[in-house]
Symmetry: C2
C-alpha cells in the first residue's frame, strides 16, 4: 500500500508529500455525473457497489494518494431518526429540531444495522483498489451536525443553533452528547471495515468564538478523537474560518489539523507547534488559474508546510465547475514538487 | 459633542469606552419596522428625511456613542449604472457583470448629483442630533462591492468573483480601479456633509487568502484610506473571517481595524501592534444570552481590549430577531464597565 498519507499524518518522513482533494469524488468528474444521472445522491450513498465505484474514480483519474469514501455527513443523522431530503441546494431536514422532545426522541443508531452500507462501500472500495491506497472514513463533528439539524440546512448567521447554545445550553449539550455517542461507533464501524484514517468535518465550527468552541465543541471532539485513536487510526479534524481556533484544535488531540486557504501554513505551524500534522490548503479557486500559476501556488504551499507532517489538499471542497484536468495538474504538481530525500 | 468615538479611533484616552452597533438602525427596532411598513428599503435610503429619522432612532433608544448613517453599500454601485433590485433575500443585481464591456460601461458617478441624498441625510441627522454624537459615514470596499456586482448578490463559494481574479486579473483590476475612483469622492462627500469618521466594509474580504488580499484588495484600500485621512477623518476598515489578514489590514493605514468575534481582542492586539485602534467584537448572538452572561462577555471583551484604542461593537451586524432591550443592556454594560481614569 501507498502509505504516504498515513506516514505524513503521523509526522513520519515520506518520499513525496501525499495529496488528496476534499470532494474528489464529485460533480466536477464526468464519470461521476454519468452515475448521478442514473441515481439520486442519497441512493448513491446507500448503494455500496456504486458508492465504491465513485470513490475509486478520482484515484484512477488523478492518482491521488487516498480514497475518501463517498458518503455524506448527514447519513448518521438520518439514522438517528431525522427525515433527510434532497433539494437543489443540497440535502436538508424538512423538520428541524425545535424542542427538547425533538432531541429526546433522537435514536442512537446501531451502526451496522442502520448504516452498514457505508461499511460495505468501504470493503468494496478496498477490494476494487486492492488496497493500493488507504481509504479515508469520515463523519461530521457534533457541532456541525447539530447546526444542520437545528437550522434545517445551511445558514448565514447560524442564529437557530447559536440561540440553542446561548438560551438552552443544557439542551445543546444533550444534543452534542447524543451525537457523540452516535458518531463514535459510526466511525469505528468504518475503521473495522478497513478505513485506515478518519476525518471529522467541523465545517461550521468556525462560526463559534474561541470560548464557545471550548465549551460546546472541544469536549466532544476530544472524546471522538481519543476513541478513534484507540482503534489505531490517525484522526484529521477540519473546518473553515478556524484559524483563530488552532489552539483549540490542537487540544482535540487530533493527529492532523486541516486548514482552509485563509492562513499561510507556516503561520499555522507557528501556532500549532510541532506535535501535529497539517493538511491543506490551496484555495479551491486556484484550480482556475493558468497552470504555471497553479504550480507556483502548489510550490508555495509545499515550501510553507515543509517536508514533514504535511498532507496536501485544497482548503475546502473542489467546486463542480472545476476542470478535471486542473485537478490532475494539481496532483501531478504536488508529486513533482513535493519530492523529498529518500525514506530510509 | 460626545467625541469618545473619535478619540478612541485615534488611540487617545477616553472617560468611557465608546460603543455603537453595526446595523443599529435596523429591523430589530419596532420604530424602524414602523417606517419600513410605509416605504421600501431603497426608497428609505433615498429619502433623507426618513433616512435621518431611522439613523437617529438607536441613538435615542440605546444611547450609543455614534450614529451610522442609514444607507446601503450598494447605493454607489447603483449610481455606477447597475440595476439594483430588492428581494426577500436582500438587495441584488439582476444583471451581474459578465464581460469586459459590462465593466467598461460602468460610470464613475458624480457623488452630489447621483447620490446627494446620502449627504442630505447626513446633514439632517446632524441637525436632528444637534451634533450630540458623531455621524459615521461608510462605503463598501472595492473587493466586496465587486463580489456583489459579479456574483449578483451574496454567494457561498464566491466562484464568479474569484474566477474573475484568477482568470482575468487585468479586468478585475480595472473593476477595482473604477470602484476606487467612485468610492473616494462618495466618501469625501459624506465627510463634507459632516461625517466625522468613515467605515469601509470589506465584508467578503475574508474570502481571499493573504496573498490574494495583498494583490487584489490592499492597494485600493490604501488609496481610499489615505485620501479620506487627507480630509481629516479617521478610517475604520472592517470585515469578517479576516483574522489571518490582520497584517494586511494594518498595511491599509486604517486608524481602526474592526474584528469579528472569531478572535480574542488581546490576540488581535498582539498581531496588529500598538499603532492602530481595534473595534469589536462581541458575537451578535451573545445578545440572546441571559443578561448576567451578556455582561460577563462585555467585561471580557473590555478587559482583552484594554482602555485605549478600543471602540466597542458587535463582531457583525445585529440580527433582526434581537430584542432591543438586549441591545440597550449591551450599551449600558459597556458604559458601566468601560469607565476609565478621568481624561485630563
Amino acid at each position: 500500500m501507498n502509505d504516504r498519507l498515513l506516514r505524513a499524518a503521523r509526522r513520519q518522513p515520506v518520499d513525496v508529500t501525499p495529496v488528496w482533494i476534499m470532494r474528489q469524488a464529485g460533480r466536477y468528474l464526468p464519470e461521476y455525473r454519468a452515475i448521478r444521472e442514473k441515481v439520486e445522491f442519497l441512493e448513491l450513498c446507500k448503494t455500496p457497489e456504486l458508492a465504491a465505484e465513485v470513490t475509486v474514480q478520482p484515484v484512477t483519474r488523478l492518482g491521488v494518494d487516498a480514497a475518501i469514501i463517498f458518503s455524506d455527513i448527514l447519513i448518521p443523522v438520518e439514522a438517528m431518526g431525522m427525515e433527510l431530503e434532497l433539494g437543489d441546494k443540497g440535502p436538508h431536514f424538512p423538520s428541524p429540531l425545535r424542542t427538547a422532545t425533538d432531541i429526546t426522541r433522537l435514536a442512537i443508531p446501531d451502526p451496522e444495522a442502520d448504516t452498514g452500507f457505508v461499511a460495505e462501500a468501504i470493503r468494496r472500495t478496498r477490494a476494487a483498489l486492492s488496497d493500493a491506497v488507504p481509504v479515508i472514513g469520515f463523519s461530521g463533528a457534533p457541532f456541525t451536525l447539530a447546526a444542520y439539524m437545528v437550522e434545517g440546512g445551511g445558514s448565514k448567521s447560524f442564529i437557530q443553533i447559536k440561540r440553542l447554545l446561548f438560551e438552552q445550553p443544557k439542551l445543546a449539550h444533550a444534543l452534542f452528547e447524543k451525537l457523540t455517542q452516535s458518531l463514535i461507533p459510526y466511525l469505528k464501524m468504518q475503521v473495522a471495515a478497513g478505513a485506515r484514517i478518519v476525518q471529522v468535518f467541523d465545517s461550521w465550527g468556525g462560526e463559534l468564538g474561541p470560548d464557545d468552541y471550548e465549551t460546546f465543541a472541544l469536549p466532544y471532539l476530544q472524546r471522538i478523537v481519543k476513541e478513534l485513536q484507540g482503534t489505531g487510526v490517525p484522526v484529521i479534524v477540519f473546518g473553515t474560518s478556524m484559524s483563530t481556533l488552532l489552539p483549540q484544535l490542537v487540544r482535540t488531540g487530533a493527529d492532523v489539523i486541516g486548514c482552509d486557504w485563509r492562513i499561510r501554513l507556516d503561520d499555522a505551524r507557528a501556532r500549532v507547534g510541532e506535535g501535529v500534522a497539517l493538511q491543506g490548503n490551496l484555495d479551491p479557486l486556484a484550480l482556475f488559474l493558468p497552470q504555471a500559476e497553479l504550480e507556483a501556488r502548489v510550490q508555495d504551499v509545499l515550501r510553507r508546510a515543509g517536508p514533514v507532517g504535511h498532507i496536501f489538499n485544497l482548503g475546502h471542497g473542489i467546486l463542480p465547475p472545476t476542470a478535471p484536468e486542473a485537478a490532475k495538474a494539481l496532483v501531478d504538481a504536488v508529486h513533482r514538487f513535493g519530492r523529498h530525500a529518500p525514506v530510509r
